[in-house]
């Protein structure tokens, strides 16, 4: 294939509305996931993101079995509920909070898989549906108009909230005790963070599927932290990194015919290696 051919193919695909939707949703989801990912990584809560993604899988299975027209309407509240339980209860459950999360996360996977098998969706095939929910294979290209608008709306709200509460997010993440001691209502903010994280994860189900969500959360933050050393620059860099990887991944998957989610994650990995190299070079200077 010569280069002219690639651009022609790309232009051809881009003229389709479903590809345009995929790009818009992909960018917004990646943007909000990278922003929240910085908070999760710095608070050592990445594993909670992973656990929640599996809960979202179980919820998706229930929604599919119950034949919801828009699965998000069930996935979102269930994921939010578990997110609040985990992020709030996590500190109180003294023994083995991480083991409890591991238990819940495989539990949700297993139950979801059983549900898909017991009540196969009409006209679908079980392994195809499971694969789509786990890896997001092609689902982003088949979003309904309603799902697109819901994703755009929620993604937009997440980004605006993050910008408005940026200073408080920093204070809470850097030293929650100090923030609480000086009068910040940290309980309320922690609950808000839990809700927003659950929202981002539910949105990301469509883009990359439940097994790959963690990648959208942690790769941008970890890559940015390799190179930058202030909070603001890490946040900005993570946002740019996440969006770029999503765009590159979506376009590459269209051209190469690979699964969207996995291709985005591959772009994330490539970016991480690049930033690690940059960080090492910068450190040497």
């Amino acid at each position: 294939m010569n280069t002219g051919g690639i651009w022609e193919t790309l232009g051809f695909y881009l003229s389709y509305p479903f590809v345009q939707y995929a790009l818009i949703v992909g960018v917004l989801v990646a943007l909000s996931a990278s922003l929240l990912g910085v908070v999760l990584v710095l608070r050592r809560l990445s594993y909670i993101g992973d656990g929640l993604a599996h809960v979202a899988f179980g919820a998706m299975a229930i929604a599919t079995v119950l034949n919801f027209s828009n699965n998000m309407l069930l996935v979102l509240p269930i994921t939010i509920l578990f997110s609040i339980l985990l992020l709030h209860g996590g500190r109180r459950v003294k023994i083995q909070g991480d083991a409890a999360i591991a238990m819940m996360s495989v539990g949700a996977l297993a139950i979801g898989y059983i549900l898909f098998n017991l009540f196969p969706p009409k006209g679908g095939n079980v392994s195809g549906d499971v694969c789509t929910t786990l890896f997001g294979s092609t689902s982003i290209l088949t979003l309904s108009q309603e799902e697109v608008w819901l994703s755009i709306g929620l993604g937009f709200v997440v980004v605006v909230l993050f910008v408005l509460f940026y200073n408080r997010v920093f204070a809470l993440t850097f030293d929650g005790e100090f923030a609480a001691a000086t009068g910040m209502r940290t309980g309320l903010y922690n609950a808000a963070v839990a809700v927003v994280i659950a929202t981002v994860i539910s949105l990301a189900m469509n883009l990359v599927g439940s097994l790959l969500i963690s990648a959208l959360l942690v790769f941008p933050a970890l890559s940015a932290m390799r190179v930058y050393k202030s909070f603001r620059s890490v946040v900005i860099c993570a946002a740019v990194f996440g969006v770029t990887a999503a765009l590159v991944g979506i376009v590459a998957s269209i051209l190469a015919g690979t699964p969207v989610g996995a291709t985005i994650v591959a772009a994330d990995i490539a970016g991480f290696l690049l930033f690690s190299l940059l960080g090492a070079l910068k450190g040497k200077k």
């Binding site: 710095l42 910008v163 408005l164 509460f165 940026y166 200073n167 408080r168 920093f170 204070a171 850097f174 030293d175 005790e177 100090f178 923030a179 609480a180 001691a181 000086t182 009068g183 910040m184 932290m225 930058y228 050393k229 202030s230 909070f231 603001r232 620059s233 890490v234």
Partner: protein
């Protein structure tokens, strides 16, 4: 009217008391030092004063509206090893209780810069917090606390791990702050420094053994014994 009063307060975790029957009062412009053995519950008491822990029993009253005028320098902990934050970002975060809007106002930024200058860290204001020495980090956290404190400053072992000269500078600075009208509550291991600097001493054990003026403490059998033990 006292800024803070504790009547027969017990503090501890999950219903298990660490220190009991604590009674004392802090008036505006007081300089109270809390002393006692390791693990006697000094930090627990300070966290209770700050509202981070509920008192297990007894009555603790903080004067109305003071909560938003308190600064806090936590005990050093090895947290946040890889946290990306510049010195200025950390100090600015102390100004949050000074405003309600989403972004920092010019006044808040000026307050941060003033405290950065006061602690002599202007040159490193754009440096990465985690790459500083222990003494420098302590100064940054004190600048942050000062941004939040315009009535009361609580310090948990501010001199721990600092070399003698920096320690002396730290105590001088805290003394100056007290002179300029700030109420101080400080936890310290250094009983000698506590008696030299503070107006009041609270000696915490399972139960408090002494509360009163600093001079009386040095003369008391308990105080002189603890003093001898600390500075043989």
């Amino acid at each position: 009217m006292a800024l803070l009063t504790c009547e027969n307060v017990s503090v501890g975790y999950e219903g298990k008391p660490v220190a009991e029957a604590i009674t004392f009062a802090v008036n505006p412009k007081d300089y109270l030092c809390i002393v006692g053995e390791n693990g006697s519950g000094k930090t627990t008491l300070m966290r209770t004063i700050l509202g981070l822990l509920p008192p297990l029993s007894g009555k603790m009253t903080l004067e109305e509206g003071v909560r938003h005028h308190i600064g806090y320098l936590p005990q050093q902990s090895p947290v946040q090893r890889d946290f990306p934050a510049s010195v200025r970002e950390v100090v600015l975060s102390g100004c949050l209780s000074r405003g309600r809007g989403p972004f920092f106002t010019r006044a808040q930024k000026a307050l941060a810069d003033k405290n950065i200058a006061r602690l002599n860290i202007t040159k490193i204001a754009n440096h990465c917090y985690r790459e500083l020495s222990g003494g420098q980090q302590q100064r940054v956290l004190l600048a942050r606390a000062l941004c939040a404190a315009d009535k009361m400053l609580l310090l948990d072992e501010p001199a721990a791990g600092l070399d003698p000269q920096i320690t002396q500078e730290m105590y001088d600075l805290i003394g100056d702050l007290n002179q300029s009208g700030l109420t101080i509550i400080m936890i310290t291991h250094d009983v000698g420094a506590a008696i030299r600097n503070a107006s009041h001493i609270l000696h915490v054990s399972r139960t408090p053994l002494y509360f009163g003026e600093s001079e009386g403490y040095a003369q008391s059998p308990l105080g002189s014994a603890f003093l001898k033990e600390a500075n043989p």
